[in-house]
């Protein structure tokens, strides 16, 4: 008993000390968050069932470009814009039509002006019809869709070999961030059947051909209100894909894609490693020709390149089994930053030898009319179909939420050509002024020597500011 009393006293004193410390935490709760304080929000009620749901916003962007001159291989017209101003209204809406039926629309109405576009012309106004489709749900987990649909595939952040419907679909994005490119693109007219169960999902999509191939558009010849189905429905396309969960974090997605006479296979896989890392791999493979063959063939088919014009780069037309792949991982820190590191491989793209030929031909044949356009057309074509120009690349991306101050989000990425070390880098800052207003800025630059992938591009840098109002 003589020993127990001091012990009990010590415990009581320790508990009292801890209690005082614990209670001091209450001082951190602001007055405005106390019950009954003025402006305290009411408890949430059921979200109002409106006629539609989605996202509407109005955004204004102004950008200037720093043009590189002279170029080792001069670029064909139209010359790059020095500045551009765009005001657009972006809408994504879904309406329930009753009894398992719904309708979706997604699009953007643009007003734009630049130093290279006369006012007024039809180029000052443009509508991007991204999506418009109906969905019928005849049974739980079974969905039938018909209309223009953006069907995405892939698990990687920088390059998605299995995203087969990305080709020719991106429309004048304000940012080169791959996440934005996935957003600013046209869907494909198709019928799609999906079944999603507890451990598996199966999707079958068929897109018919009903237009001829569209040329690769530039900022100067974009159609105003034409939905340009020639970009998305110039060939019959079929996609079958299934995802199966085998447990133990093994849930691969397998894909079979057929476009015209070409068949490609694909696979996606992700796996968590501890608390902070997600590893992923994406692969697509099939018989196809080289990027040069594909580009020159497309250019001839759309009348951009004369049939009789000799090819400036070897175009054997030979098909072989080619692989495209991305392997990478994301890593999240305790400081609100998420990184993505990726290695990209595009089996149909330029090798080191192809690049040497591209520059050699570009320097040698500058005086021959019609030759430079072919060289640049190959690169424009690759950009248009969402393929890298170089066979091997590296990609690093970061996203920092509440960077330095609350509500400031910084995002950036670097694309590196592993043959010559040249880079495209972009940094974006968005500050959420309120629930309805966002202000932001983007800076981008192409870095490298004149004999490099990114260093040879006409655009040295670009700067953009933006202001968005959400509704």
């Amino acid at each position: 008993m003589r020993g127990a009393a001091p012990l009990a006293l010590a415990v009581v004193l320790a508990a009292a000390g801890a209690r005082a410390d614990e209670n001091s935490d209450l001082n951190l709760i602001p007055e405005a968050a106390q019950p009954g304080a003025a402006g305290t929000p009411a408890p949430p009620s059921a979200p109002t069932a409106g006629a539609g749901s989605g996202r509407l916003y109005l955004e204004d962007t102004a950008n200037i470009n720093v043009i590189r001159s002279p170029l080792l291989v001069p670029a064909p017209p139209p010359p790059p814009q020095d500045w551009e101003e765009r005001l657009f209204f972006d809408a994504r809406e879904q309406w329930k039509l009753g009894d398992g039926l719904s309708a979706d629309y997604s699009g953007r109405l643009n007003l734009r002006a630049s130093d290279r576009i006369d006012i007024p012309t039809h180029e000052n106004i443009r509508h991007d019809f991204r999506e418009g489709y109906f969905t019928w749900t005849p049974a739980d987990g079974l969905f039938l869709d018909a209309g223009r649909i953006n069907l995405k595939s892939g698990v990687a952040a920088g390059y998605n070999p299995t995203d087969f419907f990305k080709t020719h679909a991106v429309v004048e994005p304000i940012s080169q961030d791959p996440a934005v490119l996935r957003e600013d693109r046209l869907g494909t007219a198709m019928v799609r059947a999906s079944y999603v169960g507890e451990r598996a999902s199966v999707i079958a999509a068929f897109a018919p051909q009903f237009e001829h191939e569209s040329p690769v558009f530039s900022y100067a010849n974009l159609p105003s209100f034409d939905p340009t189905f020639g970009r998305t429905n110039a060939h019959p396309r079929l996609l079958l894909k299934g995802s199966f969960d085998f447990g133990a974090d093994i849930a691969p997605e397998l894909l079979l894609y057929r476009e015209g006479a070409n068949t490609r296979f694909g696979a996606n896989l992700t796996r968590g490693i501890g608390q902070k890392i997600v590893a992923y791999a994406e692969w697509a493979g099939g018989e196809e020709t080289s990027l040069v063959d594909q580009a020159l063939g497309y250019g001839r088919a759309t009348g951009t390149i004369p049939e009789a014009a000799p090819a400036v780069l070897p175009d054997s037309g030979r098909k072989s089994f080619r692989n495209d792949a991305t392997i990478g991982f994301s890593y999240a820190t305790e400081s609100n930053v998420t990184f993505n590191f990726e290695y990209h491989y595009a089996g149909d793209a330029f090798t080191h030898a192809d690049w040497r030929t591209w520059f050699t031909q570009g320097e040698r044949l500058q005086a021959i009319p019609g030759v430079d356009p072919q060289l640049w057309y190959i690169r424009a074509y690759a950009l248009d179909i969402g393929q890298p120009v170089s066979r091997q690349g590296a990609f690093l991306r970061f996203d920092w939420v509440d960077a330095f101050v609350p509500k400031l989000e910084l995002q950036g990425f670097i694309n590196v050509d592993l043959f010559d070390g040249s880079q495209f880098a972009q940094l974006e800052a968005d500050y959420y002024l309120s629930n309805l207003w966002t202000v932001g800025a983007i800076a981008a630059t192409d870095l490298g020597t004149r004999h490099s992938d990114f260093g040879s591009l006409p655009q040295a840098a670009s700067f953009l500011v933006k202001l968005a109002r959400y509704f």
Binding site: R19, E22, D25, P35, S45, G54, Q275, S330, K407
Partner: protein
């Protein structure tokens, strides 16, 4: 004599604690926060910066206990602010997916990404702490709750028992008798105090008295405080298919 009474009180308190194992205390506190049946709730998050309300987020959380693990699976649907409307997060075990309707793409995210942002998604997910943590009793303490009322609590120290736990370590204060969760403190892997959380306003919700509000204090930057009001709670049948990532684009809009 006074010393004897003091020791007797301590002994009684200790005996009371030992009537329940620490893990049972945590499980009963879980049952106060979460019912056993599938349910949905609408969470209104208000972020305060230096004492001033800065932004509101609204999310609908669909929760269903996995019969195999007894842990909850969650689907979170962003309702507001307008720029985030329609975004989704799926949590199934330690697998998380984020879906953005604008890009129509699902991205796998790591458990650490649950904790990103002032109003972190990890703080509004429905979880059973008793599944993810191993608890030890620190002692009995009387602390003030969020309304500055004294509560006699069990002070528990909980260590992550698996890699699905949101935090590496959590201290919890659970009221004796009612098993009301009063306060939590959450720590990172490195032992840094990340968040202090108070529950308050215990009201009739989903057939029982449950907290209708949480206050989350950012311990790293204490000028950042978030309140979470839980409303529109109701039982809802949630099909198993909702927890497949390909179902995220199909979950009905609110």
């Amino acid at each position: 004599m006074r010393q004897a009474i003091l020791v007797l009180c301590l002994a009684l308190a200790t005996a009371s604690a030992h009537a329940q194992t620490p893990q049972e205390i945590v499980a009963k506190a879980d049952a106060v926060r979460n019912p056993g049946k599938p349910f949905r709730t609408t969470d209104l998050l208000t972020e305060y910066v230096s004492g001033k309300p800065r932004a509101d987020d609204s999310l609908v959380v669909y929760s269903k206990e996995d019969p195999a693990t007894h842990q909850f699976r969650n689907v979170v649907h962003y309702v507001a602010p307008p720029r985030d409307e329609g975004k989704m997060v799926l949590l199934d075990g330690h697998v998380l997916w984020f879906y953005d309707p604008s890009s129509k793409a699902s991205v796998r995210i790591s458990p650490q990404q649950r904790l990103i942002g002032q109003a972190a998604i990890g703080d509004i997910l429905t979880v059973n702490f008793a599944i993810d943590y191993t608890a030890a009793l620190v002692g009995t303490e009387t602390i003030e709750d969020a309304a500055r009322q004294n509560r006699t609590t069990w002070h528990l120290d909980m260590k992550a028992a698996n890699d699905q736990a949101t935090y590496s370590r959590v201290e919890a204060w659970v009221e004796q008798g009612t098993f009301y969760p009063i306060k939590l403190k959450a720590y990172s892997d490195s032992g840094r105090l990340l968040k202090i959380l108070y529950y308050r306003n215990f009201e009739q919700r989903l057939d029982s008295l449950r907290p209708s509000e949480a206050i989350i204090i950012d311990a790293v930057d204490s000028s950042l405080v978030t309140t979470v009001k839980f409303g529109d709670s109701r039982y809802q049948d949630i099909p198993e298919a909702w927890f497949h990532r390909d179902y995220l684009p199909r979950i009905p809009a609110e």
